[in-house]
């Protein structure tokens, strides 16, 4: 998949809750529809990003693992869209 991301966050080495907290903070600066790429190594971030996406309505476009690093692509939700 070839996607244009507005921002890339390197959160490798960080533990819960930092990957989610840092991503949420950074995504505040994005406009709706923009994508952010997150790199993390915390295995707990896999279920956590899924849950965070479900709870906040920011879509988890992609989640994959490559050589021990988890790549996530999240899309900032449109305003007024029900989650």
């Amino acid at each position: 998949m070839n996607l244009t991301v507005a921002m890339s966050l390197n959160l490798k080495g960080m533990s819960c809750p930092l990957p989610i907290v840092k991503t949420a903070k950074a995504m505040k600066g994005l406009t709706p529809g923009q994508l952010v790429e997150v790199l993390a190594t915390d295995p707990g971030s896999v279920p956590d990003f899924k849950a965070w996406s479900r709870a906040t309505g920011n879509a988890l476009v992609e989640a994959r693992e490559e050589a021990g690093v988890f790549h996530f692509i999240l899309k900032k939700k449109e305003e007024g869209v029900l989650t």
């Binding site: 080495g13 960080m14 533990s15 819960c16 809750p17 930092l18 989610i20 907290v21 991503t23 949420a24 903070k25 965070w52 709870a55 906040t56 029900l82 989650t83």
Partner: protein, 181 residues
């Protein structure tokens, strides 16, 4: 002529979705931080920062032993009378001087726990507290226990909300996820 099923107007559908959403999702998180121990303040602050990250309006109400982690790390003796002063000697405040609820071993336990946390890149309570403030988490010290334990506003760290009482905490807790830690 048969009567066709009447489609719901869009607004009614919207209202239904909204009601469903409200039923399944609390928009607020309120944590009552009663314990001042390292192993309880830590998850409290992890949950508070995560709640804020999930877009929930998050409040932590600090009461009783939970107030001591809010004391500035360089403040040593607090209180007006000998009992309150003794309390601060026996139970030093500050988020860098917290004890474990088990295996404290006169401070060796917390030192090892902090060492392990650094190794595993786990944010310390001090870092999490700063992060919580940055994310707009409401940190409310309980006025009554501050008076009781002899803690003044100037003994506590900056960036807290105004001290308040149980009513404020319970009013905040209406319709919220609540935790007592």
């Amino acid at each position: 002529m048969s009567i066709a099923t009447v489609e719901k107007p869009p607004l009614a559908v919207f209202a239904e979705q909204l009601a469903e959403k409200n039923a399944e999702q609390a928009e607020k998180l309120v944590i009552f931080a009663w314990s001042g121990e390292l192993d309880k303040i830590w998850p409290t602050l992890i949950l508070a920062t995560t709640g804020a990250a999930m877009g929930k309006e998050t409040t932590v109400f600090f009461t009783f032993w939970g107030l001591f982690p809010l004391v500035k790390n360089d403040v040593r003796i607090t209180g007006e009378n000998w009992m309150q002063k003794m309390l601060s000697v026996m139970n030093r405040g500050g988020d860098m001087h917290l004890k474990l609820s088990k295996m404290n071993f006169a401070g060796a336990g917390p030192a090892m726990m902090t060492h392990l946390a650094k190794e595993h890149h786990v944010a310390s309570p001090d870092e999490l507290l700063t992060m919580a403030k940055e994310m707009g988490v409401h940190l409310i010290p309980c006025q009554m226990t501050m008076d009781l334990l002899g803690l003044k506003r100037e003994d506590l760290i900056d960036g807290l909300d105004e001290p308040a009482g149980a009513t404020t905490a319970l009013a905040e807790a209406q319709g919220a996820i609540t935790l007592f830690i």
